[in-house]
Subunit: 334 residues, 2 copies
Amino acid sequence: MPTNHRLLLAARPNGIPGPENFTTDAQPARSPADGEVLLQTLYLSVDPAMHSWMSVGNGYNQRITIGDVMQGGGIARVLESRAEGYLPGDLVQARLNWQTHPTIPARYLQKLDLTLGTAEDWIGPLGLSAVTAYFGLKDIGGLKPNDHVLVSAAAGGVGQIAVQIARFEGCRVAGIAGGAEKCAWVANELKAHAVIDYKAESDLSAAIGRACPGGIDVYFDNVGGPTLDAALEHLRHGARVVLCGRISQTHATEPYGIKNLGKLAASRGRMQGFLVFNYHQRYEEARTWLAARRRDGSLHQRLHVLQGLAQAPIGLGMLFRGENTGKLVVRLAS
Amino acid sequence: MPTNHRLLLAARPNGIPGPENFTTDAQPARSPADGEVLLQTLYLSVDPAMHSWMSVGNGYNQRITIGDVMQGGGIARVLESRAEGYLPGDLVQARLNWQTHPTIPARYLQKLDLTLGTAEDWIGPLGLSAVTAYFGLKDIGGLKPNDHVLVSAAAGGVGQIAVQIARFEGCRVAGIAGGAEKCAWVANELKAHAVIDYKAESDLSAAIGRACPGGIDVYFDNVGGPTLDAALEHLRHGARVVLCGRISQTHATEPYGIKNLGKLAASRGRMQGFLVFNYHQRYEEARTWLAARRRDGSLHQRLHVLQGLAQAPIGLGMLFRGENTGKLVVRLAS
């Protein structure tokens, strides 16, 4: 049997998480029982929600016990199968957790449909970040052609797909990102109509006003805090605010107080949170839509790829410091 | 011709408005032109939104020019008509403004359907405050039987109707009001399942937790600020927050910062503002529903009646100090 290397949660984060929150272990992979498969992890996705999963009182169900393997989704190859419908070599997607050789009941797996895209597509533009952008904008955001859309963390895993979906749907899109390099990429590659470098702006609200003349119909929020507050000042009548993430608040010592909810009320607008897992039965709709735009070359995706399981905790820290350029993944094998 | 006494906006409010913001004048009422009617005002409604109308940069269209008659809705009797379908003695509802004898084009009037209720019903449980509660709870709040509902300003014009609608619809209702007298009335007359006296609680969130065990499905918010923030801590999965009013913030020197939006996101909840005028074409639906419950004696309404036009500015101040007990109206004639 191959050796299963794992990363276990050793300590809950106090601030931005990193290698100090994890310990490693290694043991022979477990032989699959009836209905199970033994997998080799190819990619792990590193996502902002993981901080919540590691924390106490997070509002999620997935809280991880100290000493347990760190949770997370990814792409894997079947090495050995005792489950009908799965053969060695098959590529699957699952909550693999942070380990090189998980053994998992087949009912928790989804086989990759390689007619839709490659394994890299499935961790990227067909993955859950992309599906999140799709339902967040279309369902929660009620996206309509000609809407004026603002996306924060526009260079991130969800944001980059949201910018492009809005553009494909005939909207005017402005993106917020941190730093000249990310902003140039959002403008040139994602073709946002306007870009705001929040690190270069002393008055974010004024910058949003310049980038979104006439105001905002849909604000796709990945960051929360002062950026959300500034965006609220520019809502048009009937605006929709999609609460997708709040990475700015994950490590705030004190939560930021939103002062502009009166603008939401005055705009007769709506603000809504959501969980992509609630759309489980419609994932195929999103993936078919995204795959068509991937195939014709119009949908771009930038992966930020780290090499090796040991990089996963480092990636988590990069994510919360905004150091990643594109959707952050860890490659364990190819 | 009768004398038309008017109250004109003399100064925009700097804090809670009162008589100092108005001047009076008196002149002969204007004879109706073709298509107009001359009215005698019976009741004027005094509403929180009026502060916005008096202010600059209020997000409404109805801003009042200094020197103009104060705007507001009410109930009147036709004295003289040059409009088809209106006869002396007819009772109507309109934006009468703060004057005893307005002359108004008939197209701006709605004739009271006295089969639905009396003139007092039309300023009260069939009036716009009640219709606001109806659409706010049912449409924006998506009220369902067995929902756990929390209503702030539960003794106020909109709140008292909201409490009762929720109860009629098979929900569990808790109300927040200020002072023992109001709270007793909300419990005994409106039959809320639980009542919170916010003036007697040092920890409002804990009090909400006790009054709403298991959390909140629908929060009908008439006050904003710290009360909204405390309610957000108790949202159940898929909760709806109806932003109807924010009277706590009207005179805040600095807007209160809402810290618990993360709870809205975590609950996958929705928060939405609305304007009752957008439901114009469905007013009859609401009034028919309310009238049926008025007729069978189940729908209660407490009017706080002030006497005479000069009391209207005083009433405005009472409203913002929470001194009214029930929906605040001014009676000019009977």
